[in-house]
Symmetry: C2
Subunit: 268 residues, 2 copies
Amino acid sequence: MNILVTLNSNYIKPLKVMLKSLFLNNQGEVFSIYLMHSSIRDDELKDMDNFVKKNGSELIEVKVNDEYFADAPTLLHYTKEMYYRLLAFKFLPQDMDRILYLDPDILVINPIRTLYETDISQYLYAAAFHDVITFKGINKIRLNPYRIEAYYNSGVLLMNLELQRLLIDENEIYRFVERNRSKLILPDQDILNALYSTKIKPLDEKLYNYDVRYYSYYKLKTNRVCDMDFVIRNTVILHFCGKKKPWKKGYKGKFYSLYKHYEKQALG
Amino acid sequence: MNILVTLNSNYIKPLKVMLKSLFLNNQGEVFSIYLMHSSIRDDELKDMDNFVKKNGSELIEVKVNDEYFADAPTLLHYTKEMYYRLLAFKFLPQDMDRILYLDPDILVINPIRTLYETDISQYLYAAAFHDVITFKGINKIRLNPYRIEAYYNSGVLLMNLELQRLLIDENEIYRFVERNRSKLILPDQDILNALYSTKIKPLDEKLYNYDVRYYSYYKLKTNRVCDMDFVIRNTVILHFCGKKKPWKKGYKGKFYSLYKHYEKQALG
């Protein structure tokens, strides 16, 4: 299975934890991990390569020359890395048909094959939207007049690379950014939703992009079906969304002990 | 290493979870699990035997004939199993020098060898006391005039069987129970503390008997040293004390996700 990750030096440790959880819960599978970056040091890259090899998979460097984005508009506080996951299809092997992008603030706690093999022949992506009422309302208003059915989270993206090569135009993306500078909060996610939301196949967030901040909300909404037992046995991807991260001091949350458990496995 | 567990049918699942966590975090070690019981069914015993074998260790049945306790005083709501861990030395091989008793409501999350090899040549037991202020005060008053230095928790007990054979008199235990019927709340733990507390080597509860209800208390008391990172990396035994248990519906707690993770590994 092809996995896409993008990275800067600050996220090396969380990335290892994410990958370790993927390997541990998908034993017998071999992964090709495509690491898209512009500025990782050689020793960091070598270390990551050893880590992936030791776990029986392979790491493939996808080095991005920033000159590629010379004409792309920039935003305050954001580097051109904001375009990486949307334009990854330009940098990946041209005969690759699909790849699963994963954020580093994730734990993969169950087998991922069913997600990976989701039928997306009619879609550019498969993704989950976080169906918390406030999200939807606010984001619909903010990104008007772009029609948004649901506000998809871009942390887990199954990509139909063949269709992307046909339908995604980088200039359209750049134009959108130019026109909406002042409104963009999470630029790549906003672009994804504004331009492509009708071409995204919705995934069940409780299985494939479980926002760990909303444990009680999920439980309530499912009449207690989605309790801790359900999550540990069925949820594939836990997503540590938001500013508070489980690798930082003083984090609190229902999945802190589990995160630290995987962190210990990953980092020793 | 010798591990002692006692069991009735209600605790088979938690016992498997506890043992699975012990095996997973002590790979390369072989354990002799002594299962002390009076009424486990043959099929349950066979199932437990398979489970332990599959994990590379051995199960040894220690069948207790309840006639042994014919003259022992009983208490309302308690079976004679309350005497098992205190008098285990009578039922175990007479040449065994030490064994580690573990409650089933425990997770073993790090290697146990250092605990197992603790020098207890001058003691009957090694155990931890839960140093929460209210515990100590209340229990000192309740079990007066028996001198109690600290109120030890009997859920994790490293036993010096050689010294126990010399110093522990079952009739002394029975007399104590007769005299203190009305005061005993947790009989085996009360007996342990009232009769033997000066002969118990204290263990660090944060490492060897971490009461999961007191995460914030431990953190506060250690000036934030004993945070989640510390616990996952250093604590050997997490103890799910109290009435609320993580295998029951509606449990809440800092270590719920971690417990469920091990439960999935143990029970499939």
